[in-house]
């Protein structure tokens, strides 16, 4: 039997730093270690995104069901 309880287990912490309240003026100046680590994480994951599906302007992927 699992002893896991969703109400007592600590939250999952994301590698994504919360910048919602950070203005663009302040954003430009950010250069702390936590910020750089988070930016590196996001950029690295982004560079690995591959084109599994090509956009096809001629008819919804040629009619292929894409998911």
């Amino acid at each position: 039997m699992s002893s896991f309880s969703a109400s007592t287990e600590p939250d999952i912490e994301s590698a994504l730093i919360d910048l919602d309240a950070v203005s663009f003026t302040a954003l430009r100046e950010l250069d702390g270690e936590a910020f750089r680590r988070s930016a590196r994480h996001v950029v690295e994951r982004t560079t690995h995104v591959r084109a599994r599906y090509r956009s096809d302007n001629g008819g919804a992927g040629g009619g292929e069901r894409i998911d």
Binding site: F4, S7, I12, A21, S23, F24, G63, D67
Partner: protein, 382 residues
Amino acid sequence: MPPAAESHPVFHRLSWRDFDALARMDGDEDMARRLRRAERSRRKLLIHALLTEATKEPGSSGPLPSLGAAWELLARAEARAPRAVNRMLANPYTGSWAGYTTRLLRNGIGGVGPLWMHLGYAHAIAAAAAIRAELDFETAIPAWHGEAMLPSLGMAEFPGAETFSSVVVRGVNGRYSVSGAGTTVHLPGAPDSDAPGWRGIRRVRSQVGAHRFSLWLDDLDPYRGLYEPIPPERLPDGEVTDWQRLIDEACRLIAAHLPGLARIMPVGLVSLVPKPQVLFRNPSASTGEAFGSAVVGLPTDGASLAETLIHEFQHIVLGGLLHLVELYEPDPRERIYVAWRDDPRPLISRKLLSPVARPECGTRCRPRRRPIRSRRTAPRRR
């Protein structure tokens, strides 16, 4: 004094309770808003990295102003109207642009057109934010085949312009124009309408009781596709009417049969990229980077569209979740069989969730038809 994000960094979080709710497709509006908020942070990180890195590359601005000008215009717009900048950050195609341009810059690969055109889209985002903030300003933005996009607003056309060129956007006393190739296009008072030389992004609204749905039909933005930039594909007005009717029907069905989804869906699905009808199929697609958007072929009826919207909405939610937390180690060589397809497919966690949406709608929105069989699969806890 360092900003709070530097001295006391806070990271996005997800409770296991919320994770369980998402796995059961039982999320609420607050959860969808938290995913959207995390997406805004992700886009800010990418924009920061892009603009910082690009300024170190000589000639990266091409014929456009330096990228510092885009920072400054965004900051001015934010100081006047923070919601204007938030609207631009929430625009799904800000995400796909940032992802695509990051890959061009970081991976040193060639893209559609020169790099300055993609980097220069930052000026277009800043100009659209400035228009929304009602600023007086002047800047230059890229034009592709004489078509200059102001994201979330519309497109100015300059026939006869070079394949890749720049045009000037101006705002003076609440009036906005785009000039290039010897022509000036004046934006209409309501930018979602058309005017000479201007095509607006049209919006479809639908209300069912207390449920309000609002979807942009974006057939213009170059980053609205699934991976690389694509040219505009303007829907005739008659087809916009068809979309309005089908969206009305779909929303009525969703509100009647899945009221919980009807509450959360408008938070996470804000834009459709309309595509032509494909007989006997309902093609649709979405990407994690364009959080909030789905590419959808014109469906045959409202029930088909309801099914597709629910399905793509689940993809969008899972795409947002995957940006928040890593649920698997990607291995591009791996192929697995699943219960609902005949062909082996790459392992992507979205496969765990999205098939649920179809039977959900199949059984509730189409009660007289045979529901699609599937097996529910839940993510495994570590």
